[in-house]
């Protein structure tokens, strides 16, 4: 333990504790800007500087471990002047048009300017406007807002191992961009949106579909259906000031109805459908022993990552579409047919914790219904904005159910939103499909939680299958390098079933979540999903009455000809230089 003084308060902390963390323990808040609790401090901004008696120069508290007997001062006149000057320099080169900025009221730079009492910008403004990067269908980058904190680069390189963004050029001309400034849409970017979630300012945000959705809602000729991903019900509350992990399923349905969507349906319904299709796929692969391990395909960021960096695993991928795309295909066929609405009049909107879903919806092969299956994708942030614009406060909403015939769901579906959830849900049904009996111990705890790579062995009637779960693409890379190596050297892998989610924590940590998120909040949202699972009458996908109905009345059986046409997809090999499809033939059809 180390004893030291901060602002005349005595503290005792373990060795290696930074001054910033030690001060926090003593209820002294040192202002920060580039610091993020989930990232390694880089000390780029210098706002968190402090004075230490006997040590010349100021020290960055985020990356300086406190020493024995130190006397630290955090708010002397010299420090306060330095902080103001540093911030002034940042602001002199920042597009301070805050009123029209996406981050207005949520900006860490804006907040800091208020905290530090900036009332004028002393240095002359640099007025050069750089072009906004609109090349990606998911993410926009506005370089005029960038403050060079380096968070996006760290998360893109170290956590996701995608390496789309880097600091290029030098000095005044240096910029956070893609190679050759080609734009995110022409880079290996997988659209996961972790850069967006970690950006402290308005330099990175989603390509908005809000205007398109308003137009569709206000068009009396169109029938607008909406689906909400599992993770949205545990994060939307935060948009309205509720605690992270508040479960707002009923309020969300009510609010969407008040936004005048014609039908409020559920992604969770098609999550159950995904389990039926993927479960049958798992069982058939386990029986044949071919193309194992089976790897899940729900996360579109992961899919593009796999196509770019691990295309040799394409035969191992589940061909089942993600719940969003299954919903899209079913809404414009089954739902249209049963409800007597012409499919060309249906506008299909999804609410997702995700930015990559915008890319997935626009993939040219995602037109199984004969139309673009999912027309518009809104992030949790965007639907929060729309509700506020419409004068709806989620907290005041009553609890309402979703609409028939695509609104009913099980606990297995709702846990899709947390890392390990798809695996757990699939095993609950696969056990039944293989043995004909129900799995008694429903909760498969080894696949829960925020450990980077989770492994377990599951006994299905004496047959042991080894499973693994990875979340964040860096963890996926570590796991898959092992799998690729095993397949190459031994012709088989030790695993039979693998779940990969692109974002840390799974969908509850997606690129479409509320601003100012961190791993602690992600964990609480995941817990809330497991709570909802426990509260639901059905907890296995195959027990869902609406799922039984759709197979009976429309699809036949899982993996039938019709199910295959509507609910399964194929994958492409992509270039790690620009993310474009390079080999049209290297794709898989069914199995």
């Amino acid at each position: 333990m180390i004893k030291a003084m901060i602002n005349n308060t005595e503290i005792e902390v373990p060795e290696g504790t930074t001054i910033l963390a030690a001060a926090k323990k003593a209820n002294i808040n040192i202002p920060t800007l580039c610091y993020h609790p989930d990232l390694i401090p880089g000390g780029q901004c210098g706002i968190c500087v402090v004075e230490i008696e006997g040590i010349p120069g100021l020290k960055r508290s985020c990356m300086t471990p406190i020493g024995e007997g130190w006397k630290v001062h955090t708010h002397t006149p010299r420090i306060m002047a330095t902080r103001k000057q540093l911030l002034d320099l940042i602001l002199s080169n920042h597009d301070t048009d805050c009123l029209t900025c996406i981050k207005n009221n949520n900006c860490e730079l804006q907040g800091l300017a208020a905290t530090l009492g900036i009332n004028s910008i002393e240095y002359q403004k640099m007025e050069e406007k750089l072009p906004v990067d609109n090349t990606s269908v998911s993410i926009v980058r506005n370089p005029n807002k960038c403050i060079f904190c380096g968070r996006c680069i760290q998360v893109c390189s170290n956590i996701q191992s995608v390496n789309a963004l880097a600091v290029n050029n030098r000095g005044y001309e240096s910029a956070v961009t893609t190679a050759f400034d080609a734009g995110l849409g022409n880079s290996p970017c997988v659209n996961c949106g972790q850069c967006v979630v970690h950006c402290p300012v308005g330099a990175l945000y989603e390509q908005s579909h809000i205007e398109d959705v308003w137009r569709a809602i206000h068009d009396p000729d169109l029938f607008v259906v909406v689906q909400e991903a599992p993770a949205v019900r545990v994060m939307l509350g935060e948009e309205f000031g509720m605690e992270p992990g508040s479960l707002v399923t009923g309020k969300m349905h009510a609010a969407l109805r008040r936004l005048n969507f014609d039908a409020v349906l559920e992604t969770n319904f098609t999550a159950d459908l995904t389990i039926m299709e993927e479960g049958v796929e798992l069982v058939s692969r386990l029986k044949s022993g071919k193309n194992l391990p089976l790897i899940t395909s729900c996360s579109p960021g992961w899919i593009k990552f796999m196509e770019t960096f691990y295309h040799t695993l394409i035969p191992h991928m589940s061909t089942a579409k993600s719940p969003q795309q299954m919903f899209g295909a079913i809404a414009k066929t089954y739902y249209a047919e049963r409800m007597g609405i012409p499919p060309e009049k249906i506008v299909s909107v999804s609410i997702m914790p995700c930015t990559a879903k915008k890319f997935e919806a626009k993939r040219p092969e995602m037109r199984a219904s004969g139309y673009q299956d999912v027309d518009y994708v809104l992030t949790t942030r965007e639907i929060g904005r729309m509700m506020r614009e419409a004068g709806i406060d989620l907290r005041e909403m009553p609890d309402e159910p979703a609409d028939d015939i695509m609104g009913e769901y099980t606990g297995a579906a709702t846990i899709f939103g947390a890392t390990g959830g798809v695996m757990e849900a699939a095993l609950r049904s696969a056990y039944f499909l293989i043995t004909g009996r129900e799995l008694e111990q429903l909760e498969i705890t080894p696949v829960r939680g925020l450990k980077g790579i989770k492994e377990a062995e599951v006994d299905i009637d004496g047959v042991k299958i080894k499973i693994a779960v990875a979340h964040s693409l860096g963890n996926a890379r570590r796991l898959l390098d092992r799998v690729v190596e095993q397949l190459k050297n031994e012709g088989r892998s030790e695993y039979q079933f693998i779940e990969v989610m692109a974002c840390p924590g799974g969908c509850v940590g997606g690129g479409g979540q509320s601003w100012g998120s961190n791993m602690a909040k992600r964990a609480r949202r995941g817990e809330a999903l497991y709570n909802e699972d426990r509260s639901l009458p059905y907890r296995r996908s195959h027990e869902n009455p609406s799922i039984k109905a759709i197979y009976e009345k429309f699809l036949g059986s899982p993996n039938s000809e019709k199910a295959h046409k509507l609910l399964h997809t194929r994958y492409f090999k992509r270039s790690p230089i620009d993310g474009k499809i390079i080999d049209g033939e290297n794709t898989t059809e069914r199995r």
Binding site: L165, A166, A179, F180
Partner: protein, 151 residues
């Protein structure tokens, strides 16, 4: 020479990245690092493409845009400046009809500025590719350019 041949002269260690980039740039008839050069280097060293680009874009001795066969680097450090490199620059711009950083239409010359070349005794000075020229006057510059055009 093929890129693969050039690159194999170096061991695939990240320590060699600058040597490899120099060799690739020297091999490129247009005196620059193309997207393919960057890609080949990234694949050989097993590092991200964006990383190699980031390194190449940081150092002024690398160009990511095509350049002429002859790269003129006029010194603009204080000693050369005092000895008249400013007016030489104007002369070069005018006679080549290009600005700093640009290439002549015939692809012969690219005009760049450089910090001290270490030959202040013969200021003002410039380099063309690997060759050094000192005690420059407009007439001398003219003769050098002519000679280059003919060679």
């Amino acid at each position: 020479m093929e890129r693969d041949e050039i690159i194999k002269k170096f061991s695939p260690s990240l320590d060699n990245i600058l040597f490899i980039l120099h060799a690739l740039q020297d091999n490129n008839p247009q005196n620059y690092l193309s997207k393919d050069d960057i890609r080949v280097c990234a694949e050989y060293l097993n590092v991200p493409y964006s990383y190699v680009h980031s390194v190449a874009s940081f150092y002024t001795m690398f160009s990511l845009k095509p350049r002429g066969r002859n790269i003129i680097r006029l010194c603009d450090s204080p000693p050369c400046h005092l000895m008249g490199s400013g007016s030489l620059l104007e002369y070069l711009k005018e006679s080549l009809n290009i600005n700093v950083g640009e290439t002549t239409e015939d692809g012969f010359f690219t005009l760049e500025l450089t910090s001290c070349l270490g030959v202040c005794g013969v200021a003002p000075a410039m380099m063309i590719n690997d060759e050094m020229f000192g005690n420059l006057t407009p007439e001398k510059v003219n003769a050098i350019l002519d000679m280059r055009r003919k060679s």
